[in-house]
């Protein structure tokens, strides 16, 4: 043991009494029995400070002036019962263990008392069991308190996390929103420079202006996408009955130019109706089909969209015959602004799949890619067939 640890040990030692003091409230109307119980307590490992209550009024008064660590109560108290003391403790919202110390009451009553919340039951003719019963009761209470504290700490952490998440959302939105205006100035005036002064400076100057215009425009498109991404998190997910067959149809209509140009074939198998935010779910289909077209292989793209019921979820699959995604990128493709190719190979900001993931997760589902390098890609995602409660709250 280190020196400092020994020091701490010494500080914790109690100089007067090595025994912990325990405040016991005795609810017992027989003086002789009180004497017996106190004598038994004196033998144990606790330093006892005891008080006595004989009537409900007295009991109420006692627990109000000082909350005991433990209540030892007789069952039959003439006009009232030990279990009534338990009710009083509950009414005062106090978690104090109560042990019945009583003559024989019969198994039925004993069981009934335990059911009501009495911590233990000790017979007066076997008082030797009392210290063990007290230890057990105090240990149980300690565990309850620890559990309560842990739960409270957990609640605080959850709240902190939620707040920090909200702050981040707000930050992303405000930052990208406020960045737009100064950036537009840069973009517009470099463009103006390019238009009005092309050929009037030297060749280098024209090139520099082009770089500046290109950079500003790319930044504008990144901010535009960041805002779109952030909006998915901010918008309330309003769930309505939607028909996925129709949503895919709408997505295909929006992608008509790309479909015609690439000669893509989109196969729609039977798709379900479910509760979802229609425009967001359409966006998911559109991004996935759009990707399948963009990352096509040497053959024209063939895209198959299907769904099957799996327990409480619908399991969707969007499969293509494109260039595929290497297994090591199966996770990172969903990260915002993550791209697997250069802009020259494939244009884009790396936002589409991040938005898909966000939308699916906000609907209580998950999305993954089945990596099959060189032989097409399959995206799979789930959507609850029944509405999960956390999404329902947003409606």
């Amino acid at each position: 043991m280190s020196a400092s640890a020994t020091g701490i040990q010494r500080e914790n030692e109690k100089p007067v009494s090595p025994k912990p003091t325990l405040r016991v409230l005795l609810v017992e109307d027989d003086p002789a029995d009180r004497e017996l119980i106190l004598r038994e307590l004196a033998k144990g490992e606790f330093e006892i400070s005891s008080a006595v209550a004989q009537t409900p009024e007295e009991f109420r008064q006692r627990i109000k002036s000082q909350v005991p660590d433990l209540v030892l109560a007789d069952y039959n108290l003439g006009t009232w019962r030990g279990t009534d003391a338990l009710e009083i403790l509950r009414a005062e919202n106090l978690d104090v263990p109560l042990i019945l110390v009583s003559g024989t009451v019969g198994d039925m009553i004993a069981v009934e008392c335990i059911k009501q919340g009495v911590t233990d039951y000790v017979l007066k003719d076997s008082l030797a069991r009392l210290p063990a019963a007290m230890r057990g009761a105090l240990h149980d209470k300690g565990m309850r308190e620890q559990r309560k504290q842990t739960l409270e700490a957990l609640d605080r952490k959850v709240e902190e996390l939620a707040r920090s998440n909200r702050d981040l959302e707000q930050f992303a939105y405000v930052a990208s929103h406020d960045l737009q205006e100064p950036l537009r100035m840069v973009a517009a005036y470099t463009q103006l420079l390019g238009e009005r002064y092309r050929g009037k400076l030297d060749e280098q100057a024209d090139k520099y202006i082009n770089y500046a215009v290109d950079g500003a425009q790319r930044m504008q498109s990144l901010i535009h996408d960041l805002l779109a991404f952030s909006r998915v998190g901010r918008m309330e997910t309003e769930l309505k009955n939607v028909n996925c067959h129709d949503l895919v149809g709408q997505a295909m209509k929006d992608l008509q130019a790309a479909i015609t140009e690439s000669g893509a074939v989109v196969n729609r198998e039977t798709l379900p109706s479910l509760k979802a935010n229609g425009s967001q779910l359409k966006q998911v289909f559109q991004n996935l089909i759009g990707n399948a077209i963009k990352f096509h292989g040497s053959e024209p793209p063939v895209i198959t969209i299907s769904a099957r019921r799996h327990e409480a979820d619908w399991l969707f699959s969007v499969a293509d015959n494109g260039i595929g995604i290497p297994p090591e990128h199966a996770e990172s493709v969903f990260t915002i602004f993550n791209r697997l190719h250069t802009r020259v190979e494939y244009p884009g900001n790396g936002i589409g799949l991040a938005i898909c993931k966000r939308i699916i997760e906000r609907h209580g589902g998950y999305i993954e890619v089945v990596p099959r390098e060189g032989s097409g890609t399959i995206f799979k995602f789930t959507l609850p067939a029944t509405v999960p409660c956390e999404v329902q709250e947003c409606v």
């Binding site: 929103h177 205006e181 537009r184 100035m185 973009a187 517009a188 463009q191 103006l192 504008q220």
Partner: protein
């Protein structure tokens, strides 16, 4: 449709945006006299012909930014649209914001249209040309009331 030179008031706190708009208006086939003010209080003084603006021309068209110092665009819009004389002037909101609450709020206050400031020079010019072409070149505007 007005035969003479149109009076246009631009309200914007960003001189770079003002210049882009003035530049775009100069390229239009419809001649216009452009006045500019850079906050909401000045805009109202101009329209109510107060202080140094006592001899200001009533504009045929106002392009009004949303986020302005002193009095923001919504307050200016609300003031104009609750004034029996000024409310006849077409107000085109011209703002970076594309947020539905901003757009809906302005129409709710009586804005005549809402145009979001485009991100590129080309689109900016096109937007200003469209606004000018419609309000000055195509639409019939109220005659100015004699005071």
């Amino acid at each position: 449709m007005i035969p003479t030179t149109a009076e246009i008031l631009l309200v914007d706190d960003n001189p770079a945006d003002l210049d882009l708009t003035i530049d775009a208006l100069k390229q239009s086939k419809w001649p216009s006299n452009v006045s500019t003010v850079c906050d909401g209080a000045q805009a109202l003084a101009f329209l109510h012909r107060e202080g140094k603006y006592d001899s200001a021309q009533r504009p045929n068209l106002v392009l009004l930014d949303l986020n302005l110092p002193k009095k923001d665009g919504r307050a200016v819009l609300a003031n104009i649209k609750s004034n029996p004389t000024l409310r006849r002037i077409p107000i085109v909101m011209f703002s970076t914001s594309q947020a539905p609450p901003d757009i809906e709020g302005c129409y709710g206050l009586g804005a005549n249209s809402y145009v979001s400031k485009p991100a590129t020079l080309e689109a900016w010019n096109a937007a200003i040309q469209s606004v000018n072409e419609f309000w000055i070149g195509c639409a019939w505007l109220p005659r100015e009331e004699n005071q």
